[in-house]
Point group: C4
Chain length 254, copies 4
């Protein structure tokens, strides 16, 4: 009987973990479609003026989704060769966070925890193979990204502290502290510029001028770095493919 159980685990593994087989693909895409549908339901739920029947239908659908995701989560643990590795992996935690809030409803306050349901969206990335190139690119630019994150942080702090000294007296209710000025700094340096907070003194405007001339570049460069790293990753991928091809060619010629 133990043999039968192992055999079934093997078969389930082919469906759930392996997405190269036909059965695995069907399973993978079904889960993806279900995730999208559950997110759509979640979005509709927040719309105002839903009728009684609509709310009931959405709740039922939510129940079915949670049930399927729970079964999927348990199966993934059972069939896994290293269950703990899966549980504490990035996707394992997301899988858990996607269902946990439902079970904690009774214990903790409902509204705050529902926010975690958003993470279900991240499960969508799970079944995508092309992500490999992104991992290579991430490795290439890792150091620069950290440095840019530090420089950006310093920059935002200098912008916040600077504008605070220029605008605090003129607009004390908006630029109340350096923390409050930070909201201006982030909205300005990312060039969003909502228009709810902006300098009105001549000093503050000239300060903004210099902050923007330097700062816009600081915020935009990382995107350029990622783009060029992705191009590099593509080249590395192609070179590896060529090497493999020439190797298998040599072997077959011998």
């Amino acid at each position: 009987m133990n043999y039968l159980y192992d055999d079934m685990k093997e078969k389930l593994r082919d469906i759930i973990e392996d997405n190269t087989t036909i059965k695995g693909k069907i399973f993978g895409y079904s889960i993806q479609v279900l995730i999208i549908l559950s997110l759509v339901a979640f979005t509709l739920e927040t719309l105002p003026g839903n009728s009684e029947s609509t709310i009931q239908a959405l709740n039922t659908f939510e129940l079915i989704c949670i049930l399927i995701f729970t079964v999927e989560y348990i199966l993934r643990i059972v069939i896994s060769k290293q269950p703990f590795k899966y549980i504490f992996s990035f996707y394992g935690l997301i899988d858990l966070l996607a269902i946990l809030p439902f079970y904690l409803k009774g214990i903790v306050d409902l509204r705050a925890l529902r926010a975690f349901r958003v993470f279900r969206a991240l499960k969508l990335i799970r079944y995508n193979k092309a992500l490999n190139r992104f991992h290579i690119a991430a490795k290439i630019v890792k150091e620069e990204m950290i440095l840019f994150f530090i420089i950006t942080s310093i920059f935002i702090f200098i912008a916040s502290a600077g504008i605070y000294f220029f605008e605090n007296k003129a607009q004390p209710e908006l630029f109340t502290s350096i923390l409050h000025s930070g909201w201006w700094a982030i909205a300005t340096l990312t060039t969003v510029g909502y228009g709810d907070i902006y300098p009105i003194t001549m000093g503050g405007k000239i300060f903004t001028f210099f902050i923007l001339i330097i700062g816009v570049g600081v915020v935009t460069v990382p995107a350029g770095l990622v783009a060029s790293a992705l191009s590099k990753a593509r080249e590395i991928e192609r070179e590896n493919d060529l090497k493999k091809a020439s190797l298998s060619n040599k072997t077959s010629q011998e």
Copy 2:
């Protein structure tokens, strides 16, 4: 007589389909100028306070344009070696959509269908050869673009759902549902920031901070990818040209 008809078709093909002959070029550019003029007329038509005579003049010009475009459309079908392939091609459908609304005026409501006339603008791209490089670049970055589209979609959803939980209570008339918050998400992540909707709670502002730090890059990277793919496409083109040149050189030397 059948022979004469085939001969005429061949001659028309030289004018309409082939844009390397002088006649073909004249025809091509005339159609382009007519498209631009019809778009200008379309724009003027929407201006308020047009006089009676202006409206009549614009209507007459519209009639002439539709007539010429209809003749062009029918000729393209008649002379084509594979009429159905043309009809269901991208440009074939645009050519049809550019004239169809006029003929459906009597049957369906006029205003809504006129919007399709906008697609006439896309006919402008038809006669341009340099687009080839764009097709190569599109092939290169296709996979990354799809992945980035998925990541951007997830990101917009997370941003919308997140800000909904932070701002819904403080500004229920603006952040009414996740769908309504989506309008904020798209205006913020693309850094447009109209200023009609923005977070006012401390939680919402801190959430926006993190969304912007990561999100601005996510939205800008694709543009960088397209730019580097176009550079790559230029290199491939040059290499192909060099290969051809060296090949023809060898042939002539032998």
Copy 3:
């Protein structure tokens, strides 16, 4: 005497046209400083509440500047080997436009023509050698830039016409015609988003969503193309330098 005149012309040419000699450099930088000072004076002139004496001082300085620029312009024509080529060159026209408004004061209305004085700013670029790399880069991306200009134009038109149909009924005073909607299109696609005009209908917002997802890339790609073309231009420059170096090396070895 003719010989003396030619000799003087030759000497002046060394000062005015040649910016590799010491005298030429001094002349060049003096003119540049004068241009900047005249622009500063021009800016100060527009400030409200200038005292009588300030206005007089600025006017006197303006007179001196015009005098020097006029002498410079006449000298450039006189010493040039091909006077007409200079007069109708890009810099020749700017040099003329920078002084012309002053002499036309009496004849035509003053205010409108003063705008041309702005072009004096472009004279600043004249004396810069590093521009060469920009010319190479411009040649590399010329075709793509034209194509992107066409695509951007079509895109702006589609955006303007589309939003007009969605928003015209809801906000007739803002989205009055396709032309008026064009102001929204340009402010949105460049992500400036002043907040003076934005969609309020659900249809208009969804339309804006799609326009932004595609449009932001369309507007940002050209900048990426220019950046990568400048990198390419740098490589070409270095290769040329290496070729020259190896050539002169060979010659000296023989």
Copy 4:
């Protein structure tokens, strides 16, 4: 005794100047943490509604920080082999500016000078090695950056002067002078667009259209240049590493 003193200086140098030893790393990171904490304290200090005890605690912490930074500054001068080189170096001046305002409190007005404490944030960069690649990249794009800075300056001036002539009559309180219009120019060209100042005349809007079509690129290109220069710097670094590796390989083989 002189020998003992020199020996102690040598030991201190290992801790303060050398960040490859364990002691040096501990010292370096401790200073970094202290800088961050002092900046946090500085931020908290500006918050409104601090209790008496909080203010006292923050002041005490400030005193301790200044004391430690002063000791560090004096030690750096004492142990340095070329004290004057350190004092007038970039980091030497920042180290001084970070403590100076405290000691000048009694003499000059306090509030304005405290802004210099922000520069302490720049000390954070001091202990980072990956900056090397940024220095290489900076060298590569130096010339282009200067040229772009000039072009951007000219562009901002033309935009300011142009919009002044279009909008001054319609909105004299906003576009008062070319200087005031400069605020519009910088907010528009960086695409921040707060919405506090924008053109309302048809001429001004059309002018903005052209300024934006060209200007957005001008402001975005430098970021792309920096990104591609950083990629280049990475390649140069790798090539140098390979050269060193092959050299040491040869040496060991011989």
